[in-house]
Symmetry: C3
Subunit: 474 residues, 3 copies
């Protein structure tokens, strides 16, 4: 459907309640937080951007191809991924003019009405690129040209955007096999931007990861440890964690299918590891090994002080044929029902009361917010709740997170917002949405006389800035 | 409790937010959709009504006896089903004056406060029958007389009501064994009303259905196929699907206990079918057979273009003694926790990326909206979400559906509203509620500056009219 | 963080919507219920308070030490339970000045922002003790002194508070082994306060309860029955239930890990019981025994008319080391996913349609409200829903309860509010919150023209007063 161009605006009251009492409070709260620097303790931006500081190529390469929120919806409505120029599993790409791909997207922009992608992208279009007409078939070329031209200018290089976005600190996530060259380059460059890494060891921990056998070999080569022996394998982790910490890491991150943890005896763990390295692990043994490794990681955190994050509960690569053709991360990951009460107990029995240990847990199963996660975080000193994540980082999902965790976890057993994105340009938009939703939520509490406005102001600042810094030790 | 009569009104702003900003927007959106024809692509009205066009008998027979939403609540508060004249399993009925049954209901009308039944029935009372005092013990007889008298007049015959209700098209559901005589009669009568059938093969697919052995025999007799052989059985389905399509069907519907699907080899499917027809299937084998048949139905849809619907997740006939005495559909069906991520994978692996295939999935387990269904529908090109269903078709349930599916499925991976009712007179009320709730939901998005009002207007029209027509190929 | 003192107020519109239309309605509804007496049919106050009527010791002993909502949050933020003077499992307590413990709490009062504890305690501080500055490090001593001094005066003795709180009737819960001396004392004292007991047989029913073997022996000694024989064991229950009923009990209460019920043959039940009393029950057999006993209790209710309550779905004592050190009820109980559809069926098959039987079911798994509990309660004549419970008794949880049960259970298959607390002073605050939330919920329905205000007024009174009296036969 082609539309005549409509104005594109970012209303100053967006995401605030329309009730005048609540809106006025929300405005005042937001005025206190809108200028705070961005703290982004967990995400997936590419450190090469900040190390090399090369210009982004064009609108399609920057905003469409890497954003699985966007192309999964286009795919769901019958658009072929090849037509968008999405890379295939074998590294090849269909020969597609990026402008044509952009047009396919622009013509279907109405599909995104009301979704977080539309909110984030409108913010980028409006604030980053100065566009003032709504995206549509009619404005597709204008968008493409405006964005692509801007990207060639110095003001749109990664470091300039980083500064313009008022980012105080950002963390990326890397595999233990990563030499962290880009992080070293950034540090040595003298540039003031603070870009940290985080230790994400899934490929060398998950026996069912397709890269596991190769990754393990490299892990050994890199560390000089005998990683096919349980003791050497754990030593290799300790060594790499120290290396990551030396490159600024303050946290580890673990993306497991479930939140299962285990606390095996050393002999049992060693036997299990032997099975795993022989490639002989059953699915149940693979799950048990991942579970045991979460507890091993927690024990190492007691020593090296890295904050631990668990991002569980996703069925990865659900679409068999799409995975075969295009590989991972193509919008076919689907959340799963997830248990925390039984799953976390072995780890918590082991380290749950240890002073100085911090475990930040995320979920894709909102039914656990009020039932499991908030009560757990409201009791265990180590446990904190990560923000509404991935499929739930829309205003509705953020609201449900607060609404369902407040009673048992309060505000102070949560860690504020983190954006968890690889879409660099959307980072200000995402933090803006989160701050506005938190201010709207607090405004309702104030308007209903549940907290005073001076308290709400402090909470708003805590959620936007202080809590993530404290939780992630930044 | 007896009340003095109170006025019965249908407020023009009902179901709109009371916040003036949102209410004004909702009014404007609603003005654009309130006059749209009703598209009812899934429901359970009786085609005999429209074929024979006989008058309905009286208030009790029309509004009370067939409405399990109503009599289940009366039963839950101690009213005997016999006293309401509900038919028993053996076909007999207690000798009850329908006026007495109506009085039992009227005296307990306060029990329905706030429920969807009260909203639908008040709409029927007010708009269809012109009643202007609230139902109560005091007005019971007046209601009974007014309604029963009206039903004897030509304006209240089924076809007249169909036209008065501005129904553009309605679909019923029939068993494969149904000769579709009524549909043929309607078509041959020259009447302009569009009444379609839909293929609902549960009795010949579910080995645990009490009619299965008989139904299978009739299936063979009707089709002339050897339905005790796997190949003949599938051929019989293809034949009846074609027969249904010739009588206007554009869809099939499957009411399974779970959403399990399977994709067995032909040899395994054949072996399983042999077990089933021998009556030797275990519960697990019965489940596997239903699962396999969903995939078979999907494969047939690739050929004949029928849209496929799955309505899973209900524990039927939960009340053992009531089932023995009164049979099916007596208000004792209870929703179950339902998995979709693993359950749908075999079918989706087989046909999930096929162009032209449409699978509309419903749920009674709202915890799957944001976690499973919206992400699945937001990725697979074949998948669309049916509206809030059965226990969830109240304003709160409809709101939760939108609120929890918007982020990942948007509006456009849903199919708009369908009423799924056998309560013919309530159809305008049900569509009215759905349109009002969608307008209220959109008004909030506009008032909070998340979409513009021109976009909301288009979405409102899409949800009320265009999306169901498109999804069901009407 | 230390704050300058801020005023402490209880706003007359607290918990009402800020939308003027809804707020005005809520005010009018609330005016009709705010003066109604408190009916507290389920809770855990100590009957000794009312029997002995001794003064409470000090602020810390009254408000901090017994309130696991409060000290679990302090623990979750690193405060040692010893530093608060929480009793240990062996009965000992750290030597702590209660004033120091109070200061630790007061300094961390900001952690409770937005939580129900802050709302309840502010109500107690303001209305019971007349405090007018917010709790903080700066006001800690003033709070401690004011509260502790007041407690020494006659007006703050338990009976005086009972009368001041306008409590019409309160129920406590006791083990079958309890001699009910305090209840007898109260009754014989001539005091007008109505304090009932309730039969809570978990320690003599749950084979996995750490007190089970001892409790069973005492059960036999107390009743003179051979409780190691199935027939004698059941007779002992009947005898104690009669004894409890004679001391005012109108209900029984069952706190099981799940809602599983069973309906074994007498021979199977006897065999299972023999295994249990031999101490040889597996976890599955223990679960089956608890399940069978729920049905036995239901059958006894048919005879003696005691209303039955099930409080299922909590993983008790989740923190292993804390349990070893401090014992039960230390804020480490975590809700579990809970099934009702299959679990309740054996009991319902047996007694679900029996006139005069009342079963009130609670849940800690909100995902069951709309899916399972409301449909079950909306059908079975015996079933009623208990209010939002424990982790869910905050305004948000109460709202979700209404919002998710209204469609299928209406208002009238629920039992109104009960506070379920051992925090005696918070009882008026808790009922106040519940009444306000219900009025706010009803005000929205009125403002959106779904029910008329006269109906909402009746419902508000029913929920606050009439329904609990009716459901609990008070």
């Amino acid at each position: 459907m082609t539309h005549a161009p409509h104005p594109l605006t970012l209303h100053p009251d967006r995401l605030f309640p329309s009730d005048p009492t609540q809106r006025d409070i929300a405005r005042r709260l937001h005025a206190e937080v809108t200028g705070l620097p961005i703290v982004s303790p967990h995400g997936h931006t590419d450190p090469a951007w900040f190390a090399i500081n090369a210009p982004f190529a064009n609108a399609t390469e920057l905003l469409l191809v890497p954003d699985h929120y966007v192309f999964r919806k286009l795919y769901s409505q019958g658009v072929d991924l090849d037509a968008l120029g999405i890379p295939r599993a074998d590294g090849s790409r269909a020969e597609v003019d990026p402008r044509d791909a952009w047009r396919l997207f622009a013509e279907r922009w109405t599909l995104f009405r009301g979704t977080p992608s539309s909110m984030w992208l409108d913010h980028v279009f409006h604030d980053v690129f100065g566009l003032r007409q709504r995206l549509s078939a009619a404005t597709a070329d204008d968008y493409y040209d405006t964005i692509t031209a801007a990207l060639q200018t110095p003001a749109f290089r990664p470091r300039a955007l980083f500064e313009r976005f008022n980012i105080e600190v950002i963390a990326t996530t890397e595999s233990p096999l990563d030499p962290l060259t880009h992080h070293a380059t950034i540090r040595e460059s003298g540039w003031s931007g603070r870009v940290l890494t985080a230790y994400r060891p899934d490929p060398v921990i998950d026996p069912e990861h397709e890269q596991f056998p190769d990754a393990l070999r490299q892990f050994g080569a890199l560390t000089g440890e005998d990683v096919f022996d349980w003791t050497g394998y754990l030593r290799a982790h300790r060594q790499r964690r120290a290396f990551f910490a030396a490159h600024g890491a303050t946290s580890t991150d673990h993306g497991h299918p479930s939140c299962a943890t285990a606390d095996l005896s050393d002999a049992d763990a060693r036997r299990l590891f032997d099975t795993v390295v022989r490639g002989a692990a059953t699915p149940a043994e693979a799950e048990l090994f991942r579970a045991q490794m979460l507890t091993e990681m927690a024990k190492m955190s007691l020593d090296d002080g890295l904050v631990m994050q668990i991002h569980p509960g996703c069925f990865r690569n659900h679409n068999r044929d799409l995975f075969a053709r295009y590989g991972r991360d193509k919008g076919a990951d689907i959340p799963l029902r997830t248990d925390y009460v039984h799953a976390l107990k072995p780890l918590l029995d082991r380290v749950g009361n240890e002073p100085g240990f911090t475990l930040i847990v995320f979920t894709l199963d909102e039914s656990t917010y009020a039932r499991e996660l908030a009560p757990l975080a409201g009791h265990y000193p180590c446990l904190f709740l990560g923000p509404a994540w991935w499929f739930h980082d829309a205003p509705e999902g953020m609201w449900r997170f607060r609404e369902q965790t407040l009673a048992s976890a309060g505000f102070y057993n949560t860690v504020g917002f983190n954006d968890d994105t690889r879409a660099f340009l959307s980072i200000p938009a995402r933090h803006d949405v989160a701050r506005r939703v938190d201010c709207a939520f607090l405004a309702k509490l104030v308007a209903e006389h549940r907290i005073d406005e001076d308290e709400a102001t402090e909470v708003a600042i805590d959620l936007a800035y202080r809590l993530p810094k404290r939780a992630y030790r930044l």
